[in-house]
Symmetry: C2
Subunit: 326 residues, 2 copies
């Protein structure tokens, strides 16, 4: 049962000492939503922190605003622990002790899967919201707090990243309406935020992407595309593997591609990242090799050379794109 | 002097036989705006066409809707010729005869540079509009025409492409408000449109992009990046020049880059596409070589080899990125 925005705001107004928990592997929506809520509570004179136990991703460093902490004992008295953009203890591993400190427990999320392992004192889950940032926007308004520039930046980050820059199918009229309101905040400049999120790729990373793309192989009449990031390539380009993020999305933008496979070679193994577009069940293909994931985004690991991994998985993936079993 | 949206709508309501001219090398805003206007005029029972003399880019083919023609004599009586997303005869080369057939001449645009070679009977130039599609949206409303799904798709295409998916600095509150309204049109699904625009890149195009990116040159401590699409490269990759779209955006996503220059070689000339990030006035740099455009997005044409064009413009662009005159 969903609590109302108004009742959640009323509960929060009466409390002090609030810890906010974004999910592990935080993204723009998780950290943006958590930061916006934290700043709004601080505007009301409350003590509030965003509790994390991993580094803030480089492209989201501008969201810092002094909100995050990894210190479990940052507050003497924790009246509320609230998960943001997640629900369930498996989404906040390593932060259980801090979580349990909250006398009340809350949850604000837009993910459909509802955890059964927690009894929340309040929870609001809106699966139709493109981003948790949209729910937070409404809570901030209900708290009676003016949208500061930092809050606007955090909410914009949450919405623009989770909607794929207003292109994914989760985008709604409301996503645009809220963004439209943010533009009216003094000093707001979405370009500045976009540039911080998206336009700080290294020369080396972008060159490496060029090399991988130039070297793609196509199978099954172009329905399957495969590429590889080898140790040699990383060395040659002066890159680390995390700089290969985004290459598989690029592969998926090719006309006629139904599935993509990107091999990532490390010292110990070869990881195959898999993506499907509409009907290809790549989780099933990954399972053949002991891997898993979602139907349209999965992965598996090989303990052999990239060439050997190719020989093993490509025939399976050709079968996958030639089969419409869903 | 700008005419009002209302007065332009009033003029159009009284006319029949209308030819609409998007600029050469039509993009999403040019063709989307022209198509939306054409469809709205047809809703009013008028004879209207979008006059073109080049193929519609493949990723915009869904905008067709039976509006475009290259037949100068498609209408017996042309009461109005109207440029959309451009102004000036140099933006509609090869279509002068058709243009002159209009008894009245109009212009609806958002480009700052105003042509001096035409006396328009009406013109509305809104440099602060992110896309001409926003002006067209208001004209369609002023015409009293309901926004059909085809019109919504065309306007969304115009706005999303010209704002770089709502990320460029030209984006305003209004861009989002209009997009928000479009979501309320029965059947509207931005994801379908986005996938048509962005996810049909050819294997060859994506490989060509890889090649250009791999071959980038950096100047001024990485503040300036330059790349080139030569005739040889096009031939080698089996691509046409319109498939080079998007490469310059990729160049702009590199950390520390303030300006980008992409040379595009054709049989007759070399076109330099220029982009600035924050302070680099690339329109000024383009003007040195007889070109023009927006402050942060401009272009100019050279009648020489790519190497000679490089020698001419790179020093000017280095000066540009080393100067903060705004």
């Amino acid at each position: 049962m969903n609590d109302t925005i108004k009742s959640i705001a009323t509960i929060m107004k009466d409390l002090d000492g609030i810890l906010i928990f974004p999910h592990i592997n935080m993204d723009g929506d998780a950290l943006g939503s958590a930061t916006a809520l934290c700043l709004a509570l601080r505007e009301l004179g409350k003590k509030a922190y965003v509790m994390i136990n991993e580094p803030v991703p480089k492209n989201l460093d501008f969201l810092e605003c002094g909100c995050t902490t990894d210190d479990d004992s940052v507050l003497d008295d924790v009246q509320l622990s609230v998960m943001v953009d997640c629900n369930g203890m498996n989404r906040i591993p390593g932060r259980e002790v801090a979580w349990e400190r909250g006398r009340l427990k809350g949850c604000i999320d837009h993910h459909q899967t509802k955890a059964k392992d927690i009894r929340y004192d309040f929870s609001r889950i809106e699966p139709k919201s493109a981003a948790t940032g949209e729910i937070i926007y409404n809570i901030v308004k209900a708290l009676g707090v003016g949208i500061s520039l930092d809050i606007a930046n955090a909410i914009f980050t949450a919405i623009t990243t989770d909607t794929g820059n207003f292109q994914h199918s989760n985008t709604t009229s409301r996503s645009h309406e809220i963004a439209g309101h943010l533009y009216r905040i003094e000093g707001f400049n979405s370009k500045v935020i976009s540039a911080l999120i998206y336009d700080r790729r290294s020369k080396n990373a972008i060159r490496m992407e060029g090399r991988v793309i130039d070297d793609l192989k196509f199978y099954a009449d172009g329905k399957l595309v495969a590429g590889k990031v080898t140790l040699d390539l990383l060395k040659e380009c002066g890159c680390t593997m995390d700089e290969a993020d985004g290459i598989i999305q690029k592969m998926m933008s090719i006309d006629g591609v139904e599935a993509a496979c990107l091999f990532k070679e490390s010292e110990n193994n070869v990881r195959a990242s898999l993506r499907g577009r509409s009907y290809a069940n790549v989780a099933k293909a990954a399972a053949v090799f002991g891997g898993g994931g979602h139907v349209l985004a999965a992965g598996c690991t090989f303990f052999c050379t990239v060439e050997e991994a190719e020989k093993k998985i490509i025939p399976v993936l050709i079968e996958t794109v030639n089969t419409r079993d869903r």
